[in-house]
């Protein structure tokens, strides 16, 4: 909300400069977002002197003026009748942005170029006269900025108000806070009308059929008004805070709303059927055209303001086109109501229609403020619109809004805030913002105050609310800094956070950089990953109100995000990439309301295995590179019993068949590693081979031992024996090694695969594998004889079990 200093000064004398005022208001909780000179836009408008006026060669009504601005002479095309040599006039230079938002550009008018524009009062927002160029006092200095020359200066404060302070959505509301800060009095305008009769009740009536939605409705009638432009001071007030003047009647309702915070509506009384108002809820599906000329479909819960026959406004949100004030209007019914905040908010949300009025009503206006505002508007309409007041006021108030007093303990105030104002000081602070302290008494060791907040402070209902008032008026910065005692008892921090950080550090060590991708995905991701129809990862959690089309669902896999990151980097000429991410996926659950959020570690490697350098050329990375990382990670985490085997057919559609392993720990599948399927690469427009792995962290975490157990370092030397066998190439080497392990008893310390070979002289469909067996005893130095039998047994076993042959 914007407030101009000049307007504020109607109600309070301000004894600070603008910057200090803004700071002081911010520090009592009304955050000032910006402080701006209202006349900044006049910065490029200067005082010019007309040197001569000549006719425009191509247009009868236009003239060409040579305007001296001290340092230069500009040629300006002008159509105003009153320009003449010797006049001092405002010259707007190209780049000037006028109050109506238009920007002045250098232009050619009917073949003659114009280096600026001579302006009228209205064009400059300095008055309402638009009949001719503004004639400036001849004592002004040519070339001066117009704002300086005319002494125009007004500061506009823009506030970012929190939703608990609707009382400050008005100039008086802000002035009230300034009064409390300065400890100076506030001058309220005169809101009273002494009625001598009750004539209005003979002409009109208000019937509230929905008192829950509309607890109060006040109205006054003004007749014989003349609808015309407002006087300049009123237009100027509205312009100063960015509102557009329309006509005197509408301007008055806006002015009073901005002054008091109470939204008003003015009806053309003669358009109201039976000259009366009925307040009811809409019929479901009812249609209504609002002031902005849009037809809206209403819901049964929406509050309508109606006349004797039909709806004339959506209560608290926007009036209807059918009862709009027009230039022919002579009788005006002024509405000032208190609407239920929840009702207005629902209507405004459902219609997607927010207005200055609904903004205030949904936050809560002062239920006792309706009459004051209606009176103020009626008086202004008499004064400025030439109208005459129909005596009497309609004030239907079927649901009086009660105000509860709040009991405040001084002791608990001290405990919560850490400052110790006494009861008298608290009373003074609260009274400075118009709270009433009704009663002060001592109970036991505590003093208590009974406080009645003013009716405009709809946010106050608990003692803590009062404590906040005490704190903010004392100044938060005056509360001394203290420290809570440290707890002595041991803490049980979540284990998984430390592990996650450890895993991230390990991945860094393996050369992977951490990415963070959005948790959102496109619904099409399932297709792009070639997921099967029944894949749970297609069962997306949909966002009802997504921001963009490619962020309509929550991701079920981290892989697409990493692929997209790779594509992005490759497009920026970085082709060698090692990226990883640890993040959640979101899987719908049948058993609970909220989805499951399994945490996944995923990594992607594409491009070169190594940095190219003078040592070595580029070698493309392959499956065994990414697998090596998984192995190293699992080893570093001290997890045993890990196995990689071929993934069952058609269980991972986004990786290349025959180049994908499932990762098993103690028989439990915890992830996959493999090459991205070429078709998936096409779907994502990934132009190079890439390898990925995925690990389900929730499963891994539980397998990580919290402490490693130490083993003795071997005391006796080992004996090494090599075996080479030839087997079918389809047999997984892992199973061969496993078989050795199974019979090796405890003398086999380690198996080291050192060669795998296919091709001549090995027969087609076969491969030779060579590995070294390390034999060691923990009790003695082994001799050849000790291992010969075992080694033979191992060889025989392999020959039998795998149909192997020796080379």
């Amino acid at each position: 909300m914007k407030v101009s200093l000049s307007w504020l000064k109607d109600y309070i004398a301000i004894n600070m400069d603008a910057a200090d005022l803004a700071d002081a208001l911010t520090m009592v909780g009304l955050e000032v977002e910006s402080v701006a000179d209202r006349y900044d836009y006049l910065g490029s408008v200067v005082v010019g002197s007309i040197e001569d006026v000549s006719p425009h060669p191509n247009a009868d009504k236009l003239k060409i003026c040579r305007v001296n601005t001290g340092d230069q002479i500009s040629s300006v095309v002008c159509g105003a009748p009153n320009v003449e040599t010797g006049m001092l006039v405002p010259l707007a230079k190209p780049g000037t942005v006028f109050p109506d938002g238009s920007e002045l550009k250098k232009s050619v008018i009917r073949g003659v170029s114009s280096e600026g524009m001579l302006c009228s009062d209205a064009e400059l927002g300095l008055g309402i006269d638009s009949s001719g160029i503004k004639a400036l006092d001849l004592s002004l200095k040519v070339g001066d900025r117009l704002a300086d020359a005319l002494g125009l200066y007004d500061i506009v404060l823009e506030f970012d108000l929190t939703p608990n302070r609707p009382d400050c959505l008005s100039v008086i509301g802000i002035a009230r806070e300034i009064a409390a800060i300065q400890k100076t009095p506030l001058n309220y305008p005169d809101y009273t009308i002494e009625d001598k009769a009750n004539a209005i009740h003979n002409i009109s009536s208000v019937k509230i059929e929905a008192p829950d939605h509309c607890p109060r409705y006040s109205a006054r009638l003004v007749e014989k008004v003349k609808v015309e432009a407002s006087p300049f001071w009123l237009q100027d007030r509205l312009l100063s805070i960015g509102l557009r003047p329309i006509n005197n009647i509408v301007d008055i309702t806006n002015f009073v709303m901005m002054e008091t915070g109470q939204p008003l509506h003015a009806f053309d009384f003669d358009f109201l059927a039976e000259n009366r108002i009925v307040v009811r809820t809409a019929a479901e599906g009812e249609r209504f055209v609002t002031l902005d000329e849009k037809e809206r479909t209403l819901g049964a819960e929406m509050l309508m303001i109606c006349d004797g026959a039909q709806a004339v406004g959506i209560g608290g949100v926007m009036g209807g086109l059918n009862s709009e004030i027009e230039t022919t209007t002579t009788r005006v019914l002024i509405e000032g109501a208190y609407f239920n905040p929840v009702s207005i908010r629902r209507t405004s949300k459902k219609l997607g229609l927010g207005t200055d009025a609904s903004h205030r009503f949904e936050r809560g206006v002062d239920p006792q403020g309706t009459v004051r505002a209606v009176n103020r508007a009626a008086k202004l309409m008499v004064e400025l619109g030439g109208g005459s007041l129909v005596e009497g006021i309609i004030d239907e108030y079927p649901k009086p809004q009660t105000l509860n007093s709040v009991d405040l303990s001084v002791r608990r105030t001290h405990r919560l805030l850490g400052i110790t104002p006494d009861a008298g000081q608290i009373k003074n602070l609260l009274e400075s913002i118009e709270f009433k302290v009704e009663n002060m008494r001592s109970e036991d060791v505590d003093e208590r105050l009974t406080v009645v907040p003013p009716t405009f402070r709809v946010d106050i209902s608990r003692p803590e609310d009062l404590m906040e008032e005490v704190a903010r008026l004392s100044g938060y910065n005056n509360i001394p800094t203290t420290f809570p005692a440290m707890p002595a008892e041991g803490r049980t921090s979540d284990h998984s956070l430390g592990l996650r950080n450890r895993i991230k550090r390990l991945m860094n060590g393996f050369g992977f950089t951490e990415a963070i991708t959005y948790s959102f995905a496109s619904e099409r991701t399932g297709d792009r990953l070639r997921l099967k129809d029944q894949d749970a990862r297609r069962n997306y959690l949909h966002i009802l109100n997504p921001l963009t089309e490619d962020q309509t669902v929550m991701r079920t896999s981290l892989v697409p995000g990493l692929i997209e990151a790779a594509v992005y980097n490759i497009a920026h000429q970085v082709k060698n990439l090692k990226l990883f991410e640890i993040g959640k996926t979101y899987i719908k659950s049948d058993r609970q309301n909220l989805p499951l959020e399994p945490e996944i570690l995923a990594a992607l490697w594409t491009g070169s295995r190594n940095d190219t350098s003078w040592h070595q050329g580029e070698i493309p990375c392959d499956f065994y590179d990414i697998k090596g990382c998984v192995e190293a990670l699992i080893r570093a985490l001290k997890i045993d019993n890990v196995r990689f085997t071929k993934i069952p057919d058609e269980t991972c559609e986004y990786t290349r068949p025959g180049h994908t392993a499932q990762i098993l720990i103690a028989g439990l599948q915890v992830g996959i590693a493999g090459e991205i399927h070429p078709l998936v690469r096409d779907n994502f427009d990934l132009k190079q081979t890439a390898f990925i792995f995925e690990l389900e962290l929730d499963k891994i975490m539980s397998l990580i031992p919290s402490d490693a157990a130490s083993r003795p370092i071997p005391r006796f030397p080992a004996i090494y024996r090599d075996i080479t066998i030839i087997i079918d190439r389809g047999i997984e080497t892992q199973t061969v090694l496993q078989a050795v392990d199974d019979i090796g008893e405890n003398l086999v310390e380690r198996l080291h695969l050192f060669d795998v070979f296919e091709g001549n002289p090995i027969a087609a469909g076969k491969k030779s594998i060579s590995f070294r067996v390390t034999y060691r005893s923990s009790t003695k130095t082994l001799e050849d004889d000790d291992v010969n039998d075992l080694h033979r047994a191992i060889t025989d076993k392999l020959l039998n079990a795998f149909g192997a042959t020796l080379p």
Partner: protein, 335 residues
Amino acid sequence: MEDNLDHIHQQALKDLEALENTDDLQDISVRYLGRKGVLTQFLRNISKLPVAQRPAAGKKANEIKSLLEKAFKEATEKLESQDEAAEAAIDVSLPGRAVACGALHPITQVNQQICDIFSNLGFDIAEGPEVESDYYNFEALNFPKDHPARDMQDTFFITDDIVLRTHTSPNQIRSMEKQSPPVRIIVPGKVYRCDSDLTHTPMFHQVEGLLVDENISFGDLKGILTTFVHQLFDEQTSLRFRPSFFPFTEPSAEVDILCVICRGEGCRVCSHTGWLEILGSGMVHPALYENVGYDADRYTGFAFGMGVDRIAMLKYGIDDIRKFFENDIRFLEQF
């Protein structure tokens, strides 16, 4: 006579000292020991000396000759070994064999710094779900349905009753439900709001804090957060607490720090105010205690929350929050 010999000796040693290469050595060797060399000449001329002086002079000259020969030999060896070393030398300025080293995402790094600071202040770290019920995200935090306070957070909805959490604050409720006071936790995590521009992304990161115990005051809130800011930035960073509004705290305070870019002079980053808003905080609203069954007469506490991404932007001088999620490796590797 003998003086003359000593002089020749000294001069020869000095010349050896100054030599630079084998050519120099050759010259010096010829100059002293060559056929026409100084010492050779001296020996030839011994016969011209008085007889009585001849034996002594000859002895001395031969001694010096052998000393010089030895010195020349040593100098030769030294020069040769130098050449050999030069031949075997490697270019140590060539780059070493690359050891790949990845980087942690800047948000992770700042997140860890924040968690470490609070860990040292005695806070436990907790986590909670990102897809959250309306109850935990709003209702239990004293955001009634149809209240304008909900407009403060543009919410992504999954259903009418399930949302993407708009803040990490639901964990205040979740933690208090799980344990009785004292509670002293921080909760890092991802949060979501439907908003996207230079300073907003629909997903970002927060760290929530909650401390509930007996006799916790607003002064304590100021103490903990002041310590935190001083550790995260530096001891010189001044901060101010100003009244604000959050439905789940009362009183509520926004914490501003003096702009770390312009030090309060006013710049684009701080919108020319000299201050940067980095934390929301306040004393836990009694409605929350009622919702979790705490005794509001006995316990008081404070809560706070901060945007990790924004703090990372300030710490690293990043002007566009969207860079965090583009995952441009040239960006990520800078941290």
